[in-house]
C-alpha cells in the first residue's frame, strides 16, 4: 500500500460505490410483498378468486372473518345472534370510518349484500354467498337483520367472502372503474393508491383504522408469478417477503441466515377421485388391453387397496420436499368436520396386494390415470409417484397430464377413471368438500358439482343435508364428522395430502399465518 494516496482512493471509491448503490432501505416503513398470482380486478365483489380476495383484503373488510382454524370471528360485525332459526342479527362496530372519512353504517352493509348479484361480466360472482338471504333490513344505523328461507348454518362462513364497500363511493360504478381507483373506498388497514395491472398495487397505511394500525406506512404488492423471479426478488432485497416459496429452493432458504421461512398447513386437500359409479370405465383394462367384465373401482376392496398402496410419507419427503401433510381426512386438524376416527393411512403394499387378490384381481390390471400439470404444487410428479406405487402392487399404470383448462373440461364430461384434483375448503369446514366432491350429483342444488367420479352414498348425503340445516355448532360438527367418516370409510375418494403454504421474509419479521392460502401485508410486523 503506497500510504495515504491509496487509502484516500479506496475511501473515495467506496463512497462512490455506496452513493451509486440503490437506496433500498431508505424508508424503514416501506414494505414490499411479492405475491404469486395477480388479481384480475380491483373490484372486491367482481370475481371470486383467491388472488382477488387476497389483495382486496388489504383495503376492504368483511363482517365476519376466518381465524387460523377456520372458525368465524368478528371483523366489522362486533357481535351477532340468531333471533330464530331463520333470522340473524348483526351488530356493527361503531365508529368505523371509510377511507373517505364517512362512517360505516347499516346502509353500506345492505348495499354490499345487494351488489354481488348485480355484477356484470363475471364468471364467478359472489352472489352464491348472498343467495341464501331472502330479506334484510337495517333496524338502526348499526344493526342489520337478515332472513333466510330455511335454517342456514353457513351464513357466517358465506360472509367471510363478502367485502363491505361504501354505498356512496360505489354507486353506479362498473367493475373496471375500480382499477383506476374509483370506488376503492374501504375500511381496511391500508388505503388504495395505485394499481398497475399484472405489475403492482400501491397502498398507504390507514391511520384512522379501527384496529391495531399496520406496521408499515407504505406497502407495495408486487405480482411475481414466476417462481425464480419471486425468489430472486427476495434474495436481492427488492421485496421484503414472498409467498409460495418454490419447493426446490426450500433447503436453500432454510440454510440462509438472512431469511426466515414460515410454514402452515393449508386447507387445500390433494386427492384422487375414482370413477365408482359406472359399470364400464374408459381407462381400465386387463393387462393385454382387453376390456374387463366389470369396473374394479366399484369394489370397496380395490379402492382400499389403491389407497393402502400409496406411501404418502414418501411423497412428502421426496416429491413435496417436506411441504405436505399426509391426509386421511377432508380438512386439516381442528377444522370443523375433522374426524379423529379416521386414522392415518399407513402404506401397506402387502395388504393391498391381498385385497386385490380377494377382489378377484390377483394379477392386477392396467390403468391410465390423469392429472393436471400446471395447477397444483408438483401435480404431475405426484401422479407419477402414485403410478409407480401402484405398479408395485401389480397394476400397470400410465400417466396422462394436461393443462388444467383442458383437464377440467374433460373431467366434467366424465372422461377419466382416476384423476388427481385439489380442493380448498374455503368455508373452513368439511361441508365444503363433502358437498362438492362426495355428494350425489344434483345439478339443481349444487351438490356434487366437482364429484367427477360420481360417487353416491345416500348415508353420506343424508348426514350432510342434516348438517347443512343444523345451526347448533357442536351438533353440526358431529354430523359433518359422521358424514366424512361414511364417505372416507367407503373410499369415495383417496385423500393424499394437504399442501403446506410457505412464506419467506427478511430476518427480523413475524407473520400471522393463515390456512386459506392468502397472504396479507398487515400480518407482517417487525419483531
Amino acid at each position: 500500500m503506497k500510504g495515504k494516496f491509496n487509502r484516500g482512493m479506496c475511501a473515495l471509491l467506496c463512497a462512490l460505490a455506496v452513493a451509486l448503490l440503490p437506496q433500498r432501505q431508505a424508508q424503514a416503513q416501506q414494505f414490499t410483498l411479492g405475491l404469486s398470482s395477480p388479481p384480475t380486478s380491483m373490484d372486491p365483489q367482481f370475481y371470486n378468486l383467491i388472488p382477488n380476495n387476497n389483495v382486496a383484503a388489504h383495503v376492504f373488510e368483511t363482517l365476519v372473518k376466518m381465524d387460523v382454524n377456520g372458525a368465524p370471528v368478528p371483523a366489522l360485525a362486533e357481535s351477532w345472534k340468531m333471533i330464530d332459526a331463520t333470522t340473524w342479527e348483526f351488530k356493527l362496530r361503531r365508529g368505523v370510518k371509510f377511507h373517505d372519512g364517512s362512517e360505516l353504517t347499516a346502509e353500506d352493509v345492505l348495499w354490499s349484500l345487494d351488489r354481488p348479484a348485480t355484477i356484470l361480466g363475471s364468471a364467478g360472482k359472489f352472489d352464491i354467498y348472498t343467495k341464501a338471504i331472502v330479506a334484510k333490513k337495517a333496524l338502526d344505523p348499526y344493526t342489520v337483520q337478515v332472513n333466510t328461507a330455511t335454517p342456514y348454518p353457513l351464513m357466517l362462513q358465506d360472509l367471510f367472502n363478502i367485502f363491505i364497500v361504501s354505498k356512496k363511493a360505489t354507486q353506479g360504478l362498473k367493475s373496471e372503474d375500480f382499477s383506476a381507483g374509483r370506488g376503492m373506498v374501504g375500511t381496511g388497514p391500508f388505503k388504495f393508491v395505485k394499481f398497475l395491472r399484472d405489475d403492482r398495487e400501491e397502498l398507504v397505511r390507514n391511520d384512522a383504522y379501527w384496529g391495531k394500525p399496520a406496521a408499515w406506512s407504505n406497502v407495495t404488492l408486487r405480482f411475481l408469478p414466476n417462481d425464480s423471479t419471486r425468489l430472486a426478488a427476495l434474495l436481492s432485497g427488492d421485496v421484503q417477503a414472498i409467498e409460495n416459496v418454490p419447493s426446490q429452493d426450500i433447503s436453500q432458504i432454510r440454510a440462509d441466515d438472512r431469511i426466515t421461512l414460515f410454514t402452515r398447513i393449508s386447507a387445500r386437500l390433494i386427492f384422487l377421485f375414482l370413477d365408482v359409479n359406472r359399470d364400464k370405465t374408459p381407462f381400465i383394462t386387463d393387462k393385454s388391453g382387453a376390456p374387463l367384465t366389470r369396473n374394479p373401482l366399484k369394489d370397496l376392496r380395490v379402492r382400499q387397496a389403491l389407497s393402502l398402496a400409496i406411501n404418502r410419507d414418501a411423497i412428502t419427503e421426496r416429491v413435496m420436499e417436506g411441504l405436505s401433510e399426509p391426509a386421511s381426512n377432508l380438512v386439516p386438524l381442528r377444522f370443523v368436520g375433522f374426524s379423529p376416527n379416521l386414522p392415518k393411512i399407513k402404506s401397506d403394499p402387502e395388504a393391498a396386494r391381498k385385497l386385490l387378490a380377494e377382489a378377484g384381481y390377483p394379477n392386477g390390471f392396467a390403468m391410465t390415470i390423469h392429472a393436471p400439470n400446471n395447477r397444483y404444487v408438483n401435480d404431475q410428479k405426484i401422479a407419477q409417484s402414485v403410478a409407480q406405487m401402484w405398479s408395485k402392487i401389480g397394476i400397470d399404470v400410465k400417466v396422462d397430464t394436461m393443462p388444467i383448462a383442458v383437464y377440467v373440461g374433460r373431467a366434467g364430461k366424465h372422461d377419466f377413471s382416476v384423476g388427481l384434483l385439489g380442493w380448498l375448503a374455503q368455508t373452513g369446514e368439511a361441508s365444503s368438500p363433502l358437498r362438492a366432491l362426495l355428494a350425489c350429483p344434483d345439478a339443481k342444488d349444487a351438490f356434487g358439482g366437482f364429484n367427477y367420479g360420481q360417487y353416491c352414498n345416500p348415508k353420506v348425503d343424508e348426514l350432510l343435508k342434516k348438517a347443512l340445516a343444523t345451526t347448533a355448532d357442536k351438533e353440526r360438527a358431529q354430523l359433518l364428522q359422521q358424514s366424512a367418516e361414511a364417505a372416507l370409510g367407503d373410499v369415495g375418494l383417496i385423500p393424499l395430502h394437504n399442501q403446506i403454504s410457505t412464506w419467506a421474509a427478511k430476518k427480523g419479521m413475524t407473520y400471522a399465518l393463515r390456512s386459506d392460502e392468502t397472504t396479507n401485508a398487515y400480518g407482517f410486523r417487525p419483531e
Binding site: L21, G121, P225, N226, S228, T229, A233, Q426
Partner: protein
C-alpha cells in the same frame, strides 16, 4: 408507391379476416372457458346463466357473426376473465412491450453493426475471433436461462440493478414510458439486454458476412483509388449496401420480439403483452386471444410495409410495383 401501399393494406385486411376466423374456431375447439373461470361452489343454474351471459351457448357461426359485427365498430369484445374491453387490456400493456422491444432492437443495432463491421475488417485479429465466439453463445444459450443468470449476477450477488419489474413511469404524449427516468432505465437494462442477445449475435454475423462481401466489390476499390477516407467508404457506402438483408432480418425479429417476448417478460416480471397472452391462453379467454393476434397481425403487416418502402429508399433499383410483361 401510393398504389402499392393501398394494395398492401387491402391484402392485410384479408389476412386479418382469415386470421380471426382461424383463431376463433381454434379456441372454440379447445374447450369451454367457463369451466376455468367459474368458482367451485356454483350450481348448474349459475353455470348456465354465466354461459348465457357470455354468449357461449350460441352456435359457433352466430358467435363469430356477432364478433365481426362488433369488430367493425372497433369493439373486439370484453375479456371473460377481467370483464374489461380486450382491446383496452392489450393497449394498456402495449407501451411496456414496445419499450422493451425498441430498446432491444436499438441495443442489437448499436452493438451488432459496428462489431460485425469491425470483425469483418480485422478478420485475422484475435478480437474478431472473440466476437464471433461470443456471438455463438448469443445464439445457443436459452433466453430464460440467460435472464435468470443476469438476475442472479447483477441483482442478487452484486446488487447493482433491480431484479424484476418496471421502473417509474412517466407519460409522454399520453403514452406511459419508463426510459425517461434513471430508475426506469435501471429496470430496463437487464430485460432489454436479455431480449437483445440473440439479435446481437444475428446482426454481428449478418453484418460481418455482408461487409466481407462488400469489401471485395469494385466500387470500394474505386473509392479508395479516388482517395476517399476509410471512414466514409465503410460508414457510408459499404453500410448502405449491406443494410438490406440486415433490415429484413431486424424487421422480422422486431415483430417476433414484440409478439413473443413472453419468456423475458415472465422472468423479469415485465408487465407487457406477452404475459397477457400466455395467461389468456391458459384460461381460454377468447376475446383477448383474438384481439391480441389481430393486433399482432396488423403490426407485422405494418412492419413489412415499412421495410418494403425502406428498400425502395435504400436501393433505387428496387421497384415497388409489379413488373408487367
Amino acid at each position: 408507391m401510393l398504389v402499392f401501399i393501398i394494395r398492401r393494406l387491402m391484402q392485410s385486411i384479408a389476412v386479418l379476416f382469415v386470421m380471426s376466423l382461424l383463431v376463433f374456431c381454434g379456441v372454440y375447439a379447445i374447450g369451454n372457458p367457463i369451466d376455468n373461470l367459474i368458482p367451485p361452489d356454483a350450481s348448474a343454474a349459475d353455470r348456465a346463466r354465466t354461459i348465457a351471459e357470455f354468449g357461449l351457448d350460441k352456435p359457433l357461426w352466430e358467435q363469430y357473426a356477432s364478433f365481426l359485427h362488433n369488430a367493425l365498430a372497433g369493439n373486439l369484445g370484453d375479456s371473460f376473465a377481467y370483464s374489461t374491453p380486450a382491446l383496452k387490456l392489450i393497449m394498456e400493456r402495449f407501451p411496456a412491450t414496445m419499450e422493451l422491444a425498441v430498446c432491444a432492437i436499438l441495443i442489437a443495432t448499436v452493438l451488432g453493426i459496428p462489431l460485425g463491421m469491425w470483425s469483418a475488417m480485422k478478420q485475422k485479429s484475435a478480437g474478431s475471433k472473440i466476437v464471433l465466439a461470443t456471438s455463438i453463445l448469443g445464439f445457443s444459450l436459452p433466453t430464460f436461462w440467460v435472464g435468470l443468470m443476469l438476475i442472479m449476477l447483477f441483482a442478487v450477488k452484486l446488487g447493482w440493478l433491480p431484479s424484476s419489474g418496471r421502473g417509474e413511469v412517466q407519460t409522454l404524449f399520453g403514452v406511459p414510458l419508463s426510459f425517461l427516468s434513471w430508475d426506469g432505465l435501471r429496470h430496463l437494462i437487464l430485460p432489454a439486454l436479455n431480449l437483445a442477445l440473440f439479435n446481437i449475435a444475428l446482426v454481428i454475423r449478418l453484418t460481418r458476412a455482408g461487409t466481407q462481401e462488400a469489401l471485395l466489390q469494385d466500387y470500394v476499390k474505386f473509392a479508395r483509388a479516388k482517395g476517399l477516407p476509410n471512414r466514409r467508404i465503410i460508414g457510408v457506402h459499404v453500410l448502405k449496401n449491406i443494410l438490406i438483408p440486415i433490415i429484413t432480418v431486424l424487421a422480422l425479429q422486431f415483430g417476433s420480439i414484440i409478439a413473443f417476448a413472453i419468456v423475458t417478460e415472465s422472468v423479469f416480471a415485465w408487465p407487457g403483452m406477452g404475459k397477457l397472452i400466455i395467461d389468456s391462453i391458459r384460461v381460454l379467454d377468447r376475446p383477448v386471444i383474438v384481439a391480441y393476434l389481430l393486433v399482432i397481425v396488423m403490426l407485422f403487416t405494418l412492419i413489412n410495409l415499412v421495410v418494403d418502402v425502406a428498400y425502395s429508399l435504400l436501393d433505387p433499383r428496387v421497384r415497388l410495383s409489379e413488373i408487367k410483361g
